[in-house]
Symmetry: C2
């Protein structure tokens, strides 16, 4: 840039007022998924049942006071969006070091009664057993909800060059200790026309979930499922450093929502794991070897 245009630019910037246009508040919402034990162990002779869980926080203030919501909060000046997400997540739940991925921008005009608030939604998979959630106080109450999601195709029209699929999703969120159960219903409409695809999600029933968080959770879930379907390796984020192959298989089965045959499963993931010399202890049956990820296999080329 030459000198003239530099000073011209300086002048321009001095006159520039960022307040000339309306600005939104920018927030983040984070969907944290984990695969955890369904409940306390009943039979020591049996393997623990596991379930997909999502982390929610009870809102202590308006709007949606006493409703449940995703952790998250507003961007602070000078902070990159993902750093906002990390900070809020830590403040509200005590989770650090999650690998956050952006899954969507939610900006429908009526999504927040306080005004024009746009949310960038992130998702992360973590091993929930490793986290000590912040203790509940009057202001905070974070807890895990088991998540059961059911898909039901409502309508499908197909022609040579267009199609429309309407799917209804029913999500059950449940926390047994607190005896809370929620039923969320959403409708997704996928339209393909003029060689162009559009997807819309509408909340039909939101129960005790605040804002448009039902929509965010569904989007995050679809993101999780697709990323693991396309690349199995993403599943390791859900596991501790050391794990057994059955644990790994179980986690994968829950997300993919289908059973896998041990022999085939083991063959397939063998390159991603390394055997350690450690073994699971105190189980009422043959103990399994502990494995860890094979980092080399992740980053080879």
């Amino acid at each position: 840039m030459n000198i003239e245009s530099f000073s011209e630019e300086q002048e321009y910037l001095q006159k520039y007022s960022i307040d000339a246009f309306d600005r939104p508040s920018l927030a983040t919402d984070i969907t944290i998924f984990s695969i955890m034990n369904e409940q306390e162990q009943i039979n020591i002779r049996k393997l623990q049942k596991k379930a997909l869980k999502v982390l929610l926080i009870k809102r202590a203030s308006f709007p949606y006071k006493n409703y449940w919501a995703l952790p998250g909060g507003f961007c602070i000046k000078g902070e990159d969006v993902i750093d906002t997400a990390k900070r809020e997540l830590y403040e509200e739940t005590n989770i650090q070091n999650a690998f956050l991925q952006l899954v969507g921008a939610f900006g429908e005009s009526n999504r927040d009664p306080r005004g024009w608030i746009i949310s960038n939604a992130f998702v992360a998979l973590i091993d929930g057993e490793l986290v000590n959630l912040r203790a509940s106080t009057d202001a905070w109450e974070a807890c895990w909800f088991s998540m059961d999601i059911r898909k039901n195709e409502v309508e499908r029209t197909l022609s040579e060059n267009s199609m429309c699929i309407v799917t209804q999703y029913t999500i059950f969120l449940k926390n047994s200790e607190k005896n809370i159960e929620m039923k969320i219903v959403l409708q997704e409409k996928k339209v393909f026309q003029d060689y162009h695809e559009t997807i819309q999600i509408r909340i039909e029933e939101s129960d005790l979930l605040a804002f448009d968080h039902a929509k965010i959770i569904l989007t995050a879930y679809q993101f999780l499922k697709e990323s693991i379907e396309k690349d199995t390796k993403a599943v390791f984020d859900l596991l501790p450093e050391l794990f057994t192959l059955s644990q790994l298989q179980n986690v994968l089965e829950i997300i993919l929502d289908k059973a896998l045959l041990p022999a085939n499963f083991r063959r397939k993931i063998s390159e991603y794991v390394v055997e350690t010399d450690q073994i699971v202890k105190h189980v009422g049956y043959r103990p399994a070897k502990l494995f860890r990820r094979n980092i080399r296999s992740f980053y080879k080329e």
Copy 2:
């Protein structure tokens, strides 16, 4: 919600001032990729060479006056983020109906000299031949740049439980008619430590590209490549309604950056396409059949 808490909430909202906190301006930037003819046909007896292209706009005002930038602009109140992207894209380039996908949120504090401006970046693949770009004026000048990207591993350290890979990307952007060439250099650092991955991209050399758009373009390119590697079907967005299998193969080869064998390629994509009774005309060699997508194969289950 009962009556009391409803009126309590109303009261809260009346007192609530959205101006209590600093807010960012929210912008969108859209990376449009296309696979187009490299230049005018020279030899009618030969197939046209094609290349990956990206759409840029010359900035007519400060900041970065006379630099090239991605199409995009600021969110208007009441508008969802993706609608901003669609509107700006149409206004600046005349493109409609692109399938936009969110690829990242860019909010580094120094990314825009005007102040705190966060950008949600979208990517779309289109068939550039179908678009009549808005004619250039004093204010607008949109044009396609061929994009050549080179990857070079600078450093790799691997241990049992951590790793660091530094990769340098050099991007050449070129428009022959206007005789513009740009060379962009970026460095990507991938670190895996404590069972947790982080990725950072730094611009080393940005040439005539405005803002942090070099970073956005690289991110969008990686997104494009990965989505097509994971699911071939995404490639159809880059093609017109009717296409030959060689065109399809060529497009795929450019993105995946590797050669494919015709027989195997055809077998693999056969379920996604339907033969039409039309044929390519005016070519100096055996004309190819024209195909279109098989929508049924996209949405079967």
